[in-house]
């Protein structure tokens, strides 16, 4: 069996809701049945075979070729299986994803990994704002799993994040880790203003000294035994985080946000 491959025929003006094309929903369907599925495209519907050339039949391995930034909801509520995307993706990549893996070769839009529950999400390029955040009005963002971003991320990465790991090789925008409930965010590049704004618990692991708000207290420098264990858990990733040279165990620790319950921590490499 070869991977079920959707190759983009044309770039549409209106956005496309890709949520029907996930492994768990396509399981057991023939390519002909898949071709007849209707996708929401702006205010009208469009058949899958109108938009894509379809090849292959392994519904548990989906490849999207020639993707661009107007394909929203790729991998929504994915429960098992793999999705690989060549090109950019739109908003809500991996929304409420439960398990399985998604790999994107290009950039992702806003709300990638929104309320993700488990599984693995990898983005080679940059992502928009609100990575791993909660939907507007909801109280909890990402609840589990691992997200790896090789590029930069926008503002409010990890907003309301509850559990899981967010690994960012590039830079993070303002309000990184805002209103975080728990979980881990690691940023190798720089971070913006209002880091950890109103975070309650959770860990922000940084390679570069951030600009911290007055509501974070310096708790001194520490050698933390858990850091090597944490790094060891990254060793199978295709990432800078897996490299021996990236590892350290000596950090400056800041506690906050004292404007909230203040049990979160910012750990900065020294």
């Amino acid at each position: 069996m070869s991977a079920l491959t959707f190759t983009m025929k044309k770039r549409l003006d209106q956005r496309v809701d890709m949520s029907p094309l996930v492994c768990n929903l396509l399981e057991g369907l023939t390519p002909k049945e898949i071709a007849g599925i209707e996708l929401q495209n702006g205010k009208r519907k469009i058949r899958v075979d109108e938009l894509f050339r379809i090849k292959g039949d392994d519904t548990q391995n989906i490849v999207i070729e020639g993707s661009f930034a107007k394909l929203d909801f790729i991998g929504k509520q994915l429960a098992g299986g793999n999705i690989t995307v060549h090109g950019d993706v739109g908003a809500y990549l991996g929304l409420e994803m439960k398990s399985g893996s998604i790999k994107v070769e290009g950039n992702a839009g806003i709300y990638a990994a929104c309320e993700m529950k488990n599984g693995y999400l990898e983005i080679k390029g940059n992502t928009g704002d609100l990575l791993a955040a909660a939907l507007p009005g909801n109280k909890q963002g990402m609840k589990g799993g691992t997200v790896l971003v090789k590029g930069n991320v926008g503002e409010r990465a990890g907003d309301h994040m509850r559990r899981g790991t967010l690994l960012i090789e590039g830079n993070a925008g303002d309000y990184c880790g805002s209103r975080m409930v728990a979980g881990t965010i690691a940023v190798m590049g720089t971070t913006g203003r209002y880091l950890g704004y109103a975070m309650r618990r959770g860990t922000l692991l940084l390679w570069n000294q951030p600009q911290l708000s007055a509501t974070f207290n310096d708790c001194g420098s520490h050698t933390l035994a858990f850091l090597p264990i944490l790094f060891a858990s990254f060793k199978n990733l295709n990432s800078k985080f897996a490299k021996e040279s990236a590892r350290f165990n000596r950090v400056q620790r800041y506690g906050g946000d004292m404007a909230e319950t203040g049990r979160g921590e910012v750990l900065v490499k020294i």
């Binding site: 939907l135 507007p136 009005g137 909801n138 109280k139």
Partner: protein, 554 residues
Amino acid sequence: MLTKLTGGIVYDPANKVNGKKKDIYIKDGKIVNKPRNVEPDKEYNITGKVVMAGAIDLHTHIGGGKGNIARMLMPENHRIDAVAHTGIKRAGTGHAMPSTFITGYRYAEMGYTAAFEPAVLPVNARQAHMEMGDVPMLDKGGYVLMGSDDYFLRMMTANKDQQAINDYVAWTLRAAQGIGIKVVNPGGISAFKFNQRQLDLDEKNKHYNVTPRDILKSLATAVKELGIKHPLHVHGSNLGVPGNTQTTLDSIAGVEGLPMHLTHIQFHSYGTEGDFKFSSGAAQIAESINKNKNISVDVGQIMFGQTVTASGDNMRQYANHGFANPNKWVCMDIECDAGCGLVPFKYRDQNFVNALQWTIGLEIFLLVKDPWRIFLTTDHPNGAPFSSYPHLIRLLMDKSFRNDMLSSIHPEAQKMSTLGTIDREYTMQEIAILTRAGAAKITGLVGRGSLGKDSWADITVYTENENREKMFEKPDYVFKDGEMVVKDGEVVKTVWGTTHVVRPEYDKSVEKDLKQYFDKYLTMKIGNFAISDDEITEDGRGSLTVHPTVGEKV
């Protein structure tokens, strides 16, 4: 144009018609006697179908600032109920606090033709009317909220005579374009701002030295003396507090025979017996209602599921914020005029308190004997969204269904409740009284809730079905002012109802003092405060219908 509805079984309690086969003729939006020698232009054969007037909801929160705050607070509640537009209907979102258009459509598709917003804050009345102006399909109106406003409480402190209070009440009613007067936790909304966290009937507001009992009596007297047909609409003290049955009984005694409508009485009928110190006061409350003919009530039944509670009673909403589910809430002051509190609630059948609340509401429905003094509400959205009415009607009309439901709730609540021993089932005629004729009468509507000659042709046609929920959730036809607007439970034409108001006379010199007060303390001038008729009618779809006061000629 003459329209004829042929062969329906008519339930029209306003004209003492109880399940009689009868043809109905409609001309120029009104019901007429059978005309001689004129053939109908349009005839609907509804042989054997049940015909009632359009239903009227006399207590439902469909306008005013709190609705928008609830919408902002709960976007997740909208996401689960997105409604696409059709050729006729506009798009919107729904569930606990639907958008205005969806509110209108859903009411109409259940056979409702009128709904009344029970908490129009005078200072926010413009927004409330604008919002209701955006609700299609329905007639509407509002009860103007008084009793915790600074000006009124100052008058009470200063011992102003009843005439002065009457003038102020009538002026406010006119300025806010209402059809009745409402009071919420009398004086309590104000007391909350002076750090009082509860206020019993005879406890003084610390700042103004006034008790809820004084306020109730003063406003109920004003309503009576001004000839406003809808009795003082009272959301009593101590909402939701175990043991508040006594407060409610005392309030009934406190108005000394003046007309009073106790709203969402279910939330005010709690005792303190049993292991959990929470029990039903339904029997005592119902007995008192049966005895005191000046009292009318609506129930405010709760239904299991997600909703949001929206109330002017910031004191009680603040006290309950710990129960917020999902965990987020809003309480705020509204320009010293009143308050506002929003707390999302998820009523669960396996929660002892919620389960008992459910039985208490039903017990009151079944124990109050006079259907003309009790009304079917869930206090939308506080007890449940209004879309649960058909289910509620089935609970009232079908004893075995009710007992099946009862057997599925929290076992301790089942043991505490007398609901299973009550055999009463509501008849079709009684449902018509609760939701039509009675509601029109108590709100003082002329020409509504009736299928008699000269009434406006608001008519609902249902197909008889043993499953009353199925029957009442999907009428065959709904006519609004003589036009067919719903067919097979789907809106087929968008129409715009009128706004019902009442305008008792008052001494215009009341504005002299008020002008000074407005200039000194409030955010707007008195001239901008009053809502002119044009504001409601100038968009071309709104209209005003003025109803007579007691004794006034139609």
